[in-house]
Symmetry: C2
Subunit: 344 residues, 2 copies
């Protein structure tokens, strides 16, 4: 009898585990494979990091409020972010796109303008790709390649008990930007004459439409002789990504709500929308900040960099993953984030 398992029963990570669990490397140069932000390939002593991402119209982006130039920029940045999250420096990308005939050449020019702007800013070269026709929509696939000094790459799975949990920049802004643009989109669809109200929301809209990766943090590590024990980029929300590091490292963690860095403009936007800014940070995603763990002995070095916040520490696995709220209450962190654990 044939069995039919729906993909959503397994979830993305369950599916990847199932599909990749039997891989055995055949090449000595394959140092690290599926399961982290990037793969690691040994090239005669030095190491190459490779990461790939696919973005689909209607799933990952909405062209109704995403200018094509921003889309090109963001598609590159989110891939570079994965390379930085391996403690590596991106050097090349390949870009494949599939487009339906609703897109003109001028539209593609705009998209590529954004691609090249990101390549320029981050010093990477577009070295190849594929361009093909789709029946519907716009699909983007980018592979980023980077360099890392031998064995300086950083996994998600190697955090240690007692390590400090750190994050760069601010969290939650992109989710609030998405909330705003989705709201304005629905208002527009209901009443096409109404102009979108984006006043004073440049910060959150910018965080969604034109995110930046964090080469400055990687450089700071190199200059200050810091090697994180574990690292990944915050793409799915702090809850989900932190659980990922904890689970893969076989540890628990404690995070302090009042230490989670949230930009003043994001707080104001959350207030305006009636949302909890902490929830936006925990569950929102798409911030492309770096989440990493460090030995406590590195604490003194961190004060040199105001872009880095220490938000908690890793614990024994038995203690689970917890957040301590501003009011002093404790909740378990779940992959669904704040909303889910608020109901406990």
């Amino acid at each position: 009898m044939n069995t039919r398992t729906e993909v959503n029963e397994l979830g993305e990570f369950g599916l990847i585990d199932r599909l990749t669990k039997n891989i055995e490397f055949q090449n000595a140069s394959s140092v690290l494979g599926v399961g982290d932000d990037g793969a690691v390939i040994d090239h005669f002593g030095k190491q190459t990091v490779v990461s790939t991402d696919m973005l689909l119209e209607g799933v990952h982006f909405d062209l109704m409020y995403t200018p094509l130039k921003h889309l090109g920029y963001k598609a590159v940045v989110v891939n570079l972010s994965d390379i930085y999250a391996m403690n590596a420096t991106p050097t090349q990308i390949t870009l494949s796109i599939a487009v339906s005939n609703k897109f003109s050449v001028e539209a593609l020019d705009e998209f590529y303008e954004g691609v090249y702007a990101a390549c320029d800013k981050y010093g990477v070269d577009l070295v190849g790709g594929d361009t093909c026709t789709s029946k519907t929509g716009f699909t983007i696939s980018i592979t980023a390649i980077g360099e890392v000094a031998p064995d300086q790459f950083v996994l998600r799975s190697s955090a240690r008990k007692g390590d400090l949990i750190c994050v760069s920049g601010f969290l939650g802004g992109a989710f609030l930007g998405l909330t705003l643009l989705e709201r304005e989109k629905h208002i527009f669809l209901d009443s096409p004459g109404v102009q979108p109200d984006l006043e004073n929301e440049e910060y959150i809209v910018g965080r969604l439409l034109k995110p930046e990766a964090r080469p400055d943090i990687i450089q700071f590590f190199a200059e200050n002789d810091i090697k994180p024990t574990a690292m990944m980029d915050v793409s799915d929300g702090l809850s989900s990504d932190l659980l990922h590091i904890a689970t893969k490292s076989n540890l628990g963690c404690v995070v302090y709500e009042d230490k989670i860095p949230i930009h003043e403009d994001a707080k104001q936007a959350a207030f305006k929308f009636g949302l909890d800014p902490t929830a936006a940070a925990l569950s929102g995603g798409e911030d492309y900040e770096l989440l990493f763990t460090l030995p406590q002995s590195d604490y003194d070095k961190l004060v040199l960099n105001e872009q880095i916040s220490v938000i908690g520490y890793m614990t024994e696995p038995e203690e689970g993953c917890r957040i301590i709220t501003k009011g002093g209450n404790q909740f378990n962190i779940t992959a669904q984030g704040w909303n889910a654990f608020k109901e406990q």
Copy 2:
């Protein structure tokens, strides 16, 4: 005033040229970029070749007659073929897929079975990827990475006047397989009770559904100290691909119809379908054989390998690209292939 140019006005190569014409490399390690089968990246003396391809359901494959296991196998092989076409050896791939919920996990297992079968056969490692949801259909994006000894990579643009034009294996089979399966599909759609008539057509169906790349040819080159002057794989049909080498090398060429290698089973299938087997070879595509040029002084080495056919030679650009038929007539080769030039 806004201009709107349709993508099909430029064609794939015109579009790629337009979108990539201003690229300037920022990394010394970027040796070769867009415009060949793969890009070349320098890694501390040795070189890495990278190639990427996107395949879309309904555009590149039809799941009505493509078993998912075969699809997985073929998706890998066509990417490896690009690496071999650079005179390199593939070592790793990344694989991204987007699938709609019409595909079960078991269906994806089948697809990955094919992926792993190809990885095993060709000795490459799947090191990363991305798995996401699509609204419709199945999209595959693969990036293949390979190694090549320093400066042993072979471009499309470096053929020289007088060089022999060579091709591996047989051409035209995949197109005849496609013709057969499309015919049977339409018969089935018209009369769902009718079973497909695929008897004695294993060869052509196999050429379409389970193509193989040609590592043996690359190995033969290495063992016999041969470095082709130009090379690419036959994915768009001999006409189109040969014109590509000629144009990029700023040369003309002459090909002899009676030298084009066509398998006996393909000839019989063509006869049965009322098609010209030479037309299938010239315009068909998807053969994934290697098309390359060699100095005439290497001719003696070629007789050692019965998998290689010499089909013509490169000429001055003024002479254009011509085929000399079995009957002794001459026609210009066009990118549309045989059908187009028959009408001249």
